[in-house]
């Protein structure tokens, strides 16, 4: 297998190939949880994407330190915390970022309840499926790769604020729906 590191293409040995496959499997399995964790700790989606990229690089570099695959999520969360705190420190001068103690409290919340958040993400599919056509269109547009809310709002002849609020409303509907789905599943 050939992977790119910076500008260089690197040929991997069979052992490295196997390690890389294992890493990819674990990373893909937990990517959503890591994304959610990063999003909780980092104020904007753009910053979150940047932190996720840095996290992925560190995880791959230090993958050899992972003792057991089942510990991947906890181990990766540790890396996320470190990177998110570093990002917050870097951006503290020009952004409104939370203090370290608040970030630590938020990290503990996600870390301790990671399974519950995973269940909510799974329930989300059913809830997204129940949205009306207009809401679904708005959601698809807002979360399309590279989407810019101000541009979408201008195209629709609306203010960015009203677009954000409509999006907020849909998110709240989805949050309520996922709770109902999980409550129903709990008794089934």
């Amino acid at each position: 297998m050939v992977i790119s590191v910076g500008m260089f293409l690197v040929e991997m040995t069979p052992a490295e190939n196997e390690k890389h496959d294992q890493f990819l499997r674990l990373y893909v399995e937990h990517e959503e949880a890591l994304n959610g964790f990063v999003r909780t700790l980092v104020p904007t989606r753009e910053d979150a994407r940047e932190v996720m990229q840095e996290v992925a690089v560190v995880l791959w570099r230090r993958f050899g330190e992972l003792t057991a695959p089942r510990d991947f999520r906890r181990w990766a969360f540790g890396v996320v915390k470190f990177k998110a705190l570093a990002s917050a420190r870097d951006r503290a001068r020009d952004r409104l970022v939370f203090d370290g103690d608040v970030l630590a409290l938020l990290a503990a919340e996600v870390d301790e309840n990671a399974d519950a958040y995973e269940a909510e993400r799974k329930a989300l599919d059913e809830c997204v499926g129940k949205l009306g056509t207009a809401q679904r269109k708005l959601l698809d547009a807002a979360y399309a790769p590279g989407a810019r809310i101000d541009a979408l709002a201008a195209d629709a002849g609306r203010s960015a604020m009203s677009f954000y609020k409509a999006l907020h409303r849909i998110r709240l509907v989805l949050m309520e729906c996922t709770q109902r789905v999980l409550a129903r599943e709990a008794i089934e």
């Binding site: 959610g36 103690d101 059913e126 989805l174």
Partner: protein
């Protein structure tokens, strides 16, 4: 004074990169002290991240489900004196109408007849209006919200009857039958009142479905569940956590909780009382504020939490609020009378005027207004020492829109103390309503 909406709005502004420094301070302070808000925040970001990481590409799209066929529904037709054939005909007609309404055009199900305070309209097509305009027509998929505890909205149903949404409420029209004889609503937050001439009303909350046909009832939702009170006619309620239907008759109520192990039971509505002492028990979640441990031999103390208070056509104002919902603390409705007195004990660590207030509703009825009084810092005594203020209700002044001139005969909904803009370190340790015998 349910502050969920304000907190979620702070979260939204922060995550959308639109928050001000003041928003940021308020949100950070609240997150530092409120574990429930941290969970809410993490749930919001978790959902945002999941939507942004490709889940939408694989999620199914909407399928129109016929009225009444969902897992949470309803049984409304079984009540009606219709033959099976007639019911089938009506059902088929409704299905046709609903599908037609979804696919072709907006069909009016209700219209706004009155609105006060800050409100919002969210159209099924994504339209958003920062006010509820009188005469606005509502169709399936539309939502309205009241954004403060003193806001209300009254809706006239197309088939007759009225639904009133109380403060800090959110109500969405799920479906209507197309000819005004049945409608289905989702009360996601707050309280609503349905008039007895409303036909075929089905209201779904976060954990219950209520159905009624020609009954006067009200529903209150809180984090603990759903409270249904029926004042005339009869309603049927079903817990979404399982169990069968319960019939609730006039003069009865039932509380549907969030725990599967505690099935709802129907009981007689308690009679109002005219005296009340707040328990200051940590088991009772304050509407706003945070618990502090007892000092010396006193009870627990409730300190303030920051709240951005929305104002129609004005910037929101930052308040520091400690507030209790009276109905959560008292098993019976607490009724105010002209010669009642509210007693507050507390401390402030900085000299500042404190505003005391309470919200009311008609006993078993709709929101009836807020009443407030300001107490200057000099009347509270030395900073850091415990003060007691005894405030006759007759001295409180009604706030616009002045729904009642006096609180006499009204039910207390919440009681609060606050400082505007500055945090004066306000803590409450005792609240009591006394009544001159």
């Amino acid at each position: 004074m349910n502050a969920d909406y304000e907190k979620l709005e702070l979260i939204r502004r922060y995550l959308d990169g639109m928050g001000t420094a003041e928003d940021h301070r308020a949100l950070q302070g609240a997150l530092r002290n409120d574990a429930a808000l941290r969970r809410q925040f993490a749930r919001y970001t978790n959902l945002d991240a999941a939507l942004g990481s490709g889940r939408l590409a694989v999620a199914p799209t909407n399928v129109v489900v016929p009225f009444g066929s969902r897992g949470t529904s309803t049984g409304w037709f079984s009540w009606r004196p219709l033959t099976a054939a007639a019911a089938a005909f009506v059902l088929a007609l409704i299905v046709t109408q609903v599908v037609h309404a979804r696919l072709a055009e907006r069909r009016e199900i209700a219209s706004v007849t009155a609105a006060s305070g800050a409100g919002q309209f969210f159209g099924a097509n994504g339209a958003l209006r920062d006010a509820l305009s009188i005469g606005a027509k509502l169709a399936a998929g539309d939502s309205i919200e009241t954004r403060s505890c003193d806001a209300t909205a009254a809706l006239a149903l197309r088939g007759g009857g009225k639904i009133t949404l109380g403060g800090n409420g959110s109500l969405r029209i799920l479906e209507g039958d197309g000819f005004g004889a049945a409608s289905r609503w989702n009360l996601t937050r707050g309280a609503l009142w349905v008039s007895p001439d409303a036909r075929g009303v089905v209201v779904q909350t976060q954990n219950a479905v209520v159905e009624a046909n020609g009954a006067q009832f009200d529903i209150q939702t809180t984090a603990e569940g759903t409270l249904l009170r029926v004042n005339s006619g009869q309603a049927r309620v079903r817990s979404l956590l399982g169990g069968g239907d319960l019939e609730v008759a006039a003069g009865q109520q039932t509380a549907v909780g969030m725990r599967h192990e505690e099935p709802p039971v129907v009981v007689a509505q308690p009679q109002p009382v005219e005296q009340w002492t707040c328990s200051f028990s940590p088991a009772v979640q304050p509407a706003y504020g945070k618990w502090l441990p007892a000092r010396d031999s006193s009870a627990m103390r409730l300190s303030t939490a920051p709240l951005l208070w929305p104002r129609p056509k004005l910037d929101p104002v930052l308040l520091h609020v400690a507030s209790f919902r009276v109905f959560r603390d008292s098993k019976s409705p607490v009724r105010a009378s002209a010669d009642s007195t509210l007693v507050f004990r507390g401390v402030t660590t900085r000299p500042h005027m404190v505003r005391f207030g309470f919200s009311t509703q008609k006993v078993r009825g709709v929101f009836a207004g807020k009443f407030e009084i300001d107490v200057p810092a000099k009347d509270l005594g030395p900073v850091g020492s415990e003060w007691e203020v005894r405030l006759p209700l007759s001295k409180f002044h009604p706030l616009p829109p002045r729904l009642a001139d006096s609180p006499d005969g009204l039910e207390l909904v919440d009681v609060y103390a606050l400082t505007r803009i500055e945090d004066a370190g306000l803590e409450l340790s005792h609240i009591e309503l006394t009544h001159k015998q």
